[in-house]
Symmetry: C2
Subunit: 307 residues, 2 copies
DNA sequence: GAAAGATGTCCATAATCTGGACGGAGCAGG
DNA sequence: CCTGCTCCGTCCAGATTATGGACATCTTTC
């Protein structure tokens, strides 16, 4: 009925292990971890994990037990459902010294939702996907719950994700769309190549991305990308509302607010990561989608430090 | 020379796997993850990882590669050092819906450091250890850097950790001290059984824990535990200063401020987790130190929901 | 500029993980 | 109260997987 793809499935496993590079159980376990993260609100049942991972029950359970031993995952003793654990929180806090996008964005989301009355989101790119980190509700009573924290959509699907996609160069866009081809065709019929081309062109000319109800009918949204001081993309902010609240005029208005907040977030990021030009105070780009299992001397692409 | 135990070693591995419960590479990999988390500031070299884990290089590298594949870890292409990756940040954000201690504490840390001029910390309990999540510097020029984010000390070592320890019941305290015995003897000679008994008694009678320079000479601190609405411990706040700024009078003064901020944090936590009495809006206690590899019906101890 | 110190890699051996099959808990209905 | 169903957790022989000593390479040091 809905086009949404919440209980998203066994995509990652297949594509992930580039090729016999050892430690496969670890790969599988971490896939499960990510999967459990997506169900962070209500927890993941073992069945859901099995279903979502393509593994079989015993294997999944053994791996999840390992995650529990490390406290990355907890199991509700009564519901038997699996949740992210305390260690995940701790690691996140420690990692946020290098990836503080959400920290810098929260305030702006609050402001956006307050002035607009609609719901705003922060998303980041993770490989060829976009993950929602936070949803800030607005006061307007009709709210679209198309996107929950933890949910993941292919890059380009949704306003924030489209803003991030449109900010990339054409070659990479092509690669990403190609990689996600199968999933797009299966779960997001509204996102044809033409739709992508159109949305990308729109985003580039207008400066903001628009999702004209492609994921969920009547649920429109606009989004803008946020960049680290060095220019690479930190994430995106977006605001969603029902279509009747997204006419041309209001789009322009929201886009103005959005732009202002994006600037603020970038300023905060800059204050936090831009100050250490020589040291490693900010994330370096990693290899992208694939990851040819290391090549000592063939990583000049971006460098970790200054140009 | 220093008593501090920063580059802490191969303790976890040995004790962790309760006994042949499968998925051992996952255990090892996640131990490495935690280890890398401890070096979050400057990154971990492969040598440090090898040293710290007790594994050998090839194995460590293979496991770290698996972590990199999952984006939980990144490697600086030039330094070759390993850092926590973006996925760790994402998971942390998602987990923080259930463990938002630091979110609720940050503001109070800022306030504490501002009014006192000294450095304040937020720590949480992780098993039989205490992990520092955040350090907020004060204005006073002489600062002790005894505790960095990511650092881990046995429960009871340091003011915050002692506050959490003293809040537990005697049986559990005994178990914890017993578990940590070897590490304490080796790395924290100042923490004798008598010292513990004394500090615990002090904390319980005064309402705040005091570290009279036991970790680092002249570096004193006071700490107080913070609780979730259901009474179980969320973490601790602490303030550290050189001994000359920790006389009885100032202790009392700081303790008063600390108590006020602890109350605020607990109020925030309550607003965030207390509101959902029936649903799973807050973390449930997990099994403690060990974790007898699951026992379906023998987990009535704490229950996940309401009494 | 050569030694020392790290990092990354290979491959035969040995231990580990896999997954079909089984037992049990909780629940709805007759 | 029992039956049927679903979901969860566990076991064990077979097969795939990980292990770590030894080697190659790059970087730093004296």
């Amino acid at each position: 009925m809905s086009i949404i793809w919440t209980e998203q499935g066994l995509d990652t496993l297949e594509r992930m292990a580039p090729e016999g590079s050892g430690a496969q159980s670890v790969d599988r376990a971490l896939t499960l971890l990510s999967l459990i993260g997506r169900h962070c609100e209500k927890g993941a049942s073992l069945a859901a994990i099995v279903e979502g991972s393509g593994l079989n029950r015993p294997t999944a359970r053994r791996l999840v037990l390992a995650l529990i031993r490390s406290r990355l995952v907890e199991q509700d003793p009564v519901t038997r459902r699996y949740f992210l654990g305390e260690e995940a929180y701790v690691l996140g806090v420690l990692a946020s010294r290098r990836f503080g996008f959400l920290d810098c964005a929260l305030e702006s989301l609050a402001s956006l939702s307050k002035t607009s009355g609609d719901t705003s989101f922060a998303s980041i790119r993770r490989g060829d996907y976009s993950v929602c980190l936070h949803r800030e509700e607005g006061a307007f009573p009709i709210r679209t719950h198309a996107l929950d924290p933890g949910h993941r959509h292919p890059l380009g699907v949704g306003a924030g994700a489209m803003a991030m996609l449109a900010a990339l160069d054409d070659a990479e866009i092509a690669r990403i769309l190609d990689t996600n081809q199968a999933i797009l065709a299966e779960h997001y019929p509204a996102y044809t190549s033409e739709a992508f081309a159109q949305d990308i062109a729109f985003a580039r000319s207008r400066g903001y991305a628009l999702n004209p109800g492609r994921v969920l009918q009547n649920s429109w949204a606009i989004g803008m990308a946020v960049r680290y001081p060095d220019g690479h993309i930190a994430g995106a902010l977006s605001v969603a509302a029902i279509d009747s609240r997204m006419g041309e005029a209001r789009q322009a208005e929201l886009a103005r607010d959005l732009a202002a907040e994006v600037l603020k977030v970038e300023t905060r990021l800059s204050g936090r990561f831009g100050a250490h030009p020589t040291t490693n105070g900010r994330p370096f780009k990693t290899a992208r989608g694939d990851l040819p299992p290391q090549s000592h001397s063939t990583a000049p692409s971006t460098g970790g430090v200054e140009p």
